[in-house]
């Protein structure tokens, strides 16, 4: 497989390409609306849903805030139960451990359960470098792998493909990877699933080494949990002689009892089912049943970096249900590839910068802006990750990471606005100037907004990008302050000429005049967008942008 997220363009560039793909948008709109409706219906069956969310968030926080102790306990229990525990600082180290296990058993192929952690470390590509073929066995992952494609959704990696495209991939690619698809294959989903069953069964039956991740790792019992639907997980976890599970260190739960919360919230949030068809748990080696050699690789790869971020560490609560993707208006229109990572959507927009560090690259730095901050993701999240707040905090970190050097057009504009708002006299001058500008523009204005108000066309120079996606009304010819003085506080609307000094009703300067725009003052938290106070040119501009 050659497809890789390395070198992906920044989000706005990738999103523009995705938005132009009408097939993709149709596939996504259908899929996300279907799953939203299913989720809503099964979540509404559970009266204590909010209590479960609160408990889930607290359990994960408890696990994270004493993570070192829980990891040590997990290692101790797993080892006592006959498993071999490895630790991996980064992707290269984790891949090397898995490759070594495969080499020790002299295999040139392994079967895999769908796993975000192994996708994150690009395990398949690294194993291929060692001459080991890693076969994905989840239907959607198989579609992605055969199509030399990239996953675009956490739960349904081939969500961007429709049945006709899947049929084509199976017909042209299956033979090269093993058992060929039947020549008379139609695009009927049951037939496509049957072809995948035939193709993969021979691989399951001969595989010596299986690779998985884990949805949860229970510290006090050393139990690993995999939640799935198709049975491919059970095949990989049960039939091979050797099992290697790559587990992110944030997957730890303190106690066995804690599972009672997540086995209620995860299936309903992810696939919109009361329970997923199969859940497998194992706590090491079971004599006479299943793999007799079990390896567990505990993976950091940026997780401790995210843990050190006080605002962002809550992202490590994520149980990879993908509910946030399915409700996100940005994801629904751009699809997952635009995020340039195996973690797309709202959670990807925070997880990638947290794992890799703001300032680590333009692509990663573009992700905190890939949001409308509408908050739907927070509402849907079963562990209450406040994604909008983390996004805003990360935006600030991205800005901080780029301080020094040549200031951007935006930072120049913001500095200018701060200076203007810093004094009543300067603000008065500016509003007067904008009124004059409005008069000029209205005279030559070529566009009008719904409702008849005139609008500016595309701005020249640095403002072009900003106005390319926004309608900007022309400034009014008179500021509120000027109107107030002229009409004595609205009491004499018809009174004569504009009176620069005002009449008897002239108010004192308003102490509430906005002062700064750049600082993140506490009272801004009331505005979930964290957007700076609107300048005079901003009035009436509605809606967010990507």
């Amino acid at each position: 497989m050659t497809a890789t997220f390395v070198g992906m363009p920044v989000f706005p560039t990738a999103a523009r390409a995705a938005l132009a793909d009408t097939q993709l948008r149709r596939n996504l709109a259908h899929a996300t609306s279907t799953i939203r409706a299913k989720r809503l219906s099964v979540v509404s069956e559970v009266e204590e849903w909010e209590d479960l969310r609160l408990a889930g968030a607290a359990i994960k926080d408890q696990a994270l805030l004493d993570l070192d102790q829980h990891l040590l306990r997990l290692e101790e229990r797993l080892t006592a139960n006959g498993a071999i525990v490895h630790w991996a600082r980064d992707a290269a180290e984790a891949c090397a451990i898995v490759a070594q296990v495969a080499r020790d058993h002299e295999v040139d192929e392994v079967v895999k359960v769908k796993s975000m952690a192994t996708a994150e470390i690009e395990l398949n590509e690294r194993l291929a470098e060692h001459g080991i073929a890693a076969w994905e066995t989840d239907l959607a992952e198989l579609i992605v792998q055969l199509g030399d494609d990239l996953p675009s959704h956490i739960l349904v990696p081939a969500i961007h493909r429709n049945r006709a495209e899947i049929r084509e991939i199976f017909l042209t690619r299956m033979a090269g990877a093993g058992k060929a698809a039947p020549a008379d294959l139609t695009d009927d989903p049951p037939e496509l699933a049957a072809a995948a069953r035939q193709h993969l069964r021979e691989k399951f039956l001969r595989a010596k080494v299986g690779i998985s991740g884990a949805n949860f790792a229970v510290a006090d019992t050393g139990t690993l949990v995999v939640v799935e639907s198709e049975g491919n997980g059970r095949m990989c976890l049960t039939l091979p002689e050797v099992l290697v599970s790559v587990v992110g260190i944030e997957k730890v739960l303190p106690t066995w009892t804690d599972l009672e919360v997540f086995l209620q919230t995860l299936p309903r949030s992810s696939t919109g089912e009361r329970m997923n068809p199969y859940t497998s748990t194992w706590s090491g080696v079971t004599p006479g049943d299943g793999p007799q050699e079990v390896h567990v690789v505990l993976l950091d790869n940026g997780r401790t970096r995210a843990l050190a971020d006080e605002v962002g560490r809550q992202a490590l609560r994520c149980i990879r249900c993908s509910a946030c993707l399915n409700v996100c208006p940005v994801y629904e229109r751009t699809g997952g590839h635009a995020y340039g990572s195996v973690y797309p959507g709202p959670i990807g927009a925070i997880l990638n910068p947290l794992l890799r560090g703001p300032g680590s690259g333009d692509q990663v730095d573009s992700l905190p802006y890939a949001s409308t901050l509408c908050g739907a993701c927070f509402e849907a999240c079963p562990v209450r990750i406040d994604i909008p707040t983390v996004l805003v905090d990360l935006r600030a970190q991205v800005v901080d990471a780029h301080r020094g050097g040549v200031p951007s057009a935006q930072s120049v504009a913001m500095k200018g606005a701060a200076w203007t708002f810093g004094s009543g006299a300067r603000l008065r001058a500016a509003t007067r100037a904008s009124g004059l500008l409005g008069d000029v523009v209205r005279r030559f204005g070529r566009r009008s907004l719904p409702g008849g108000r005139s609008a500016l066309g595309r701005l020249p120079g640095p403002g072009a990008a900003w106005s390319g996606a926004r309608d900007m009304p022309t400034p009014p010819s008179e500021s509120f302050r000027a109107w107030w003085r002229r009409t004595a506080g609205g009491t004499s609307e018809t009174s004569g000429a504009r009176d620069p000094e005002g009449g008897p009703g002239t108010p004192r300067p308003n102490p509430g005049t906005p002062t700064t725009t750049g600082d993140r003052s506490p009272d801004q938290s009331a505005d979930p967008s964290g957007r700076p106070a609107a300048g005079p040119l901003d009035r009436g501009v509605g809606g967010g942008a990507l």
Binding site: Q62, L139, V156, A158, A193, S229, G231, R234
Partner: protein, 201 residues
């Protein structure tokens, strides 16, 4: 420094800014009234299992062997070593390879727990349920659940199960929704799940 020590060190230094005190886990969800009990609970279990397009057949202890024979039909069945009743013509599990199990049509087992709210059966792979491969490779799983094994909710099931044993939670037959999110039954696990619910009456 070993990777283990380095990761643990990173974890500890990442948590120097942790908030004071312990995190209390609010367990208010446990106060939720159990949605059902008694006969209604068993009825809900049946309804929810069937909602997954599994089939449910109710029988008494006396009728069980007949019900099993009907479910198996003319097909060849494999059974775990500790089953409490006879399955005529069945092959005993003597450690067949996965490829050998692939040639067998049906498996008959008991279960450990049934969950009414979610329509789930849980196997803990004791001798009456057999090793995990047994209920995975054959295409048709006939699972006997006693009404007394049914609990209402997921927390009750978690409390009743032993984490030291491998567990398999099963809700309906193998299924996928990976193609345009339309649900297809039967991918890699058993394509047919038949639950025989044994009532005491």
């Amino acid at each position: 420094m070993s990777a283990r020590d380095e990761i643990l060190g990173r974890v500890r230094s990442a948590l120097t800014t942790r908030p004071e005190g312990e995190v209390d886990v609010p367990r208010a969800y446990r106060d939720a009234v159990a949605p059902v009990s008694g006969d209604a609970m068993v009825d809900l279990f049946v309804e929810r299992v069937e909602d997954y397009r599994a089939t449910v057949r109710r029988c008494t202890v006396a009728e069980l062997e007949q019900a099993v024979a009907e479910a198996v039909g003319q097909a060849q069945a494999v059974v775990p070593p500790g089953l409490d009743w006879q399955v005529p013509g069945a092959v005993a599990d003597d450690g067949q390879s996965a490829a050998e199990l692939d040639g067998i049509d049906v498996v008959v087992t008991a279960a450990a727990v049934g969950i009414a709210v979610t329509g789930t059966i849980v196997l803990d792979h004791r001798p009456d349920q057999g090793r995990r491969a047994l209920t995975l490779v054959p295409d048709h799983h006939v699972c006997v659940v006693r009404a007394s094994q049914v609990v209402a909710t997921v927390p009750e099931a978690v409390a009743a199960l032993d984490p030291a044993r491998p567990l398999t939670w099963i809700s309906g037959p193998s299924a996928t929704s990976d193609i345009e999110l339309s649900r297809v039954e039967g991918v890699h696990g058993p394509r047919r799940l038949e639950v025989l619910l044994v009532t005491d009456a």
